[in-house]
Structure formats: structure tokens, C-alpha cells
Amino acid sequence: MTHNAMIDEWYPVGLFSKLDAAGRKTALMGEPIDVARDAEGNAKVTEGNGRPLPVRVRYGHVWSSLGAPQKALFAIPEADQAGRRFVDVGVVRVRCSPLRAVENFLDIAHFPFVHTDILGAEPHTEVQNYKVEIRDDEVWATQVKFYQPQAAKSASGGITTEYMYRVPAPTCAVLYKTCPPRPSEWDVITLFVQPLAEDLCDVWPWMALFDDTTSLTDLIHFQQTIFLQDRSILENQIPRLLPLDPGMEIPTRADLTSVAYRRWLKRHDYTYGAQLVAQ
């Protein structure tokens, strides 16, 4: 087992706003953990045997690690930008590899088929050329353009949306997309994935948006609708674990980001939830 590289990463383990003194029992990479609020109101994470684990509170969520993180939690500068609304979308459990959950989030080719009439629609299924690169050791896909019937709650009617995707940590992805009410800014939508086991994860979507008109509940429901459309597909992917051996799943142009993500995972030995040997 070479899971060590991922042990030292930060993972979301709960919503800060929902913490209580009684604590919540959950798991991180197979280990039972407890996430609670202490007497001073701070987040506290402990392993099953009582060992305290490192804690950060950022982007609405509590973050922790079973190991000794060498790096700070990745930055999302938009989280400090005035005028944005921050939306805790809430947890959804998915019986799939945490890496598969991230990879699906990076894939736009499925929009017209899975998110029909919201994020895509036939016959607009063409994914135009875009750029994929490694920037500061993060996977970035830029200049991703796609026609969308209802790109955001704040969009009225179809627009061609531009996306940027960023993978700053093995189980976290940040998406920047055209912001209909403010063309000079990007809306930020993230997928923070808590690996419970290699084939089970809790997904915590979070958003930082410019939208002063839509109610918070509507914003949550819009994102939950989209994520729930993905859930059944994620639960039916075969193999369960993400194959990291080239040649097992043949990529098309739309999958450039996925190829870069898999290579990046492999290079860093981020293999918790991955399948290394072709079966």
C-alpha cells in the first residue's frame, strides 16, 4: 500500500456552521474520526483513539488530516473578496472513489447528457479546444467554452460560458465560470471531497458567487440538483477505483483535463482510491 502521499493532505470533514459540542462521527481514509466544537467554539477533530488531529477552518468547512501536512491549505483568493455570497451546499454521500468524484467534476462533455437543459443541451455537444497545464503544481484547464441553456441561477436564457478548472489538492477541485451579472469576474464553485474509504466519499460542494437576487435556498437547490444528477452516474462507474494506468480508458479531446489529472495523481503517488494494476 502506498497511500502515504495522500495521508499528509488536508481534507474537508464537516461544515463549520453545523458543528456542535456532541460532535459528529465520521471517517477519513478508513479511520474513524470525530468532529466537534470545543468549549471555546473552535473546531476539534480527534481520531478514534483520542489523538487530536490538525485542524483548519476555511471556505465554510473544517479541514483535517491524518498525517502531518507539509503545505498550507490551498488558497482561494476569491473567498476574501467583498461582495461575494458564500454558499454551504451541504454534504452528499457517494459510493464511488473520491478521485472519480473529482474527475467527473472536471469533465464537461457529459453536460448535455446528464445536466440536460441546465448545463448543456443537444445538439450543442461540441467541446471546443482548450488549454491544460500544470501551474504551481496544480492542474489547470483554461479557455474551456461551452454553450449552456441555464449556466447559473442568475442566467436568463442560453449563453456560451467560459470555464477554468483547477485541481489544487488530490480530492478538491475549483471551478471558475462566467458570472452572468458581473462579466469581469468569475463565479467560484468548488467540490471538496472527503475520502471515507477508497470507494466511498462525502462530497461537500461550496460556492462563492456574485448574485444579489437569488435566495440562498435557490442557490443551494440549483447546485444540489446538478450534483444529484451526477451521483447515480458516479455510483455506476466501472471499475469503482480510478484507473491510473495509461491505456485502460481511451481518452478523447474532451478528456484532456482528466488525463492531466490522472498523470498528476500518479506522479505524486496520490493513489488512495486509484487502481494501479490493470485488471
Binding site: 451541504g90 454521500r93 443551494i220 437547490h221
Partner: protein, 219 residues
Amino acid sequence: MKLYDYILSPSCYKVRLMAALTCVKLDIRPVDFHPGAEHRGPELMALNPAGSIPILEDADLILTESSAMLVYLAARAAPEWLGSGAAEETARVQQWLSFSNRLTASLGGARLHEMLLRPGDITALQAQGIAALRELEAGLVEQGLRGMRFLASDRPTVADIACFPYVALAPDGGVSLAPYPAIRLWSRALRSLENFIEMPGIHRLHELKPDPHIEPDGA
């Protein structure tokens, strides 16, 4: 007519679906069920002490049971959805309307557990769900022998709409629909109804793949 609604709730979807099928316009009031637990907050508890959604409000009428909402929509806009009125058919409609509560408790409970981390005995919920699915499958097979495609009649009624959502979403709770051919045919028949609407996890019947092109032979 105002519906206190949650987009991921199969019980709320029953009402949205019935309204769509009978061309009734609903005024939707979204409820932050998850993660906000707004249905347990003072405003909604005052309307429905049971702390559940959907809630349907129409002037003085406040309904908190989805089966009653289906009946109300049908009685107002499309009485054919209530069945013919014949004794046996009326009884079957009532039988399945009541039965639908078992689907909510079992398959719905399993789904909340598996998807939104609701505490519960998942093994027991899934076992009860499977028992209910078998009963529904047997009911549909018997209806088929009577020459009828739907639960109470040869046309869909409120009973079908009451049972359909939790059944279609059973896989969300880790319960497979593969062993139930009659249920799958019935689900197809419902999804192909005019004005059918979807919810996340329940897809419309659009074919992603075109029919295979078969060359006429002998030419």
C-alpha cells in the same frame, strides 16, 4: 396553490409531477431541507407539526400528506386520475395510496441514509424496501394478467404517482431495480406520459442512442 418544496424530495416531486400531468400551475416555495433543516424550523412546524414536507396551501386548505395533495389536484383539474369510481378500482387506488407510505419509510429512509447521512438501520430499511418492491412487482404482474398496465386501472391514477418516485429512486438508497421487470415496464410507461417532468435521479425517456440502422437485405 403554494407548494413548500424541496427539489430532491421524492414526496414533493409526487406533487410537482401530478401538477405537471394535470396542467396545474404551482407556486413553489423552496425549503432548505438540507443542509438547513428548515422544515423543522418554527415557520414550517407551525404549518405542519409533523415536521415533514411537502406542504400544500390553497386558501384555507393546508395539506401535509402527499397522497391527499394528489387527490386534491386530480379532483380539481383532472378527475380521470382518481379512477373510474368502480368499487374494486376505488379500493385498489386507496390500497396503493396507503402502501406508498411504506415505500417512503423504507426506500425513502434508505435513500436519506445513503445520500444525506441520516441515521438509521440501513440493513433493515433496505430489507423492508425490497419486501415492498416485491409486493409492488407482484401487484403489477397481476394487473397485467387482468389486462391492465397500471396499479389500479388500465390508465394511470393517483396511485401510480404516489408509488412511482420512491421506487424509481430506490438505487439512490442502494436497492437495485434489476430483479423487477414489471416495475421497469411500468416506470417506462409513466415516464412516457405526456407532460411528464423529471427530478434529479429520474430521467425522462430520451434515447441517447439512435435505433440501430438495419440494412434491408436481399437487395
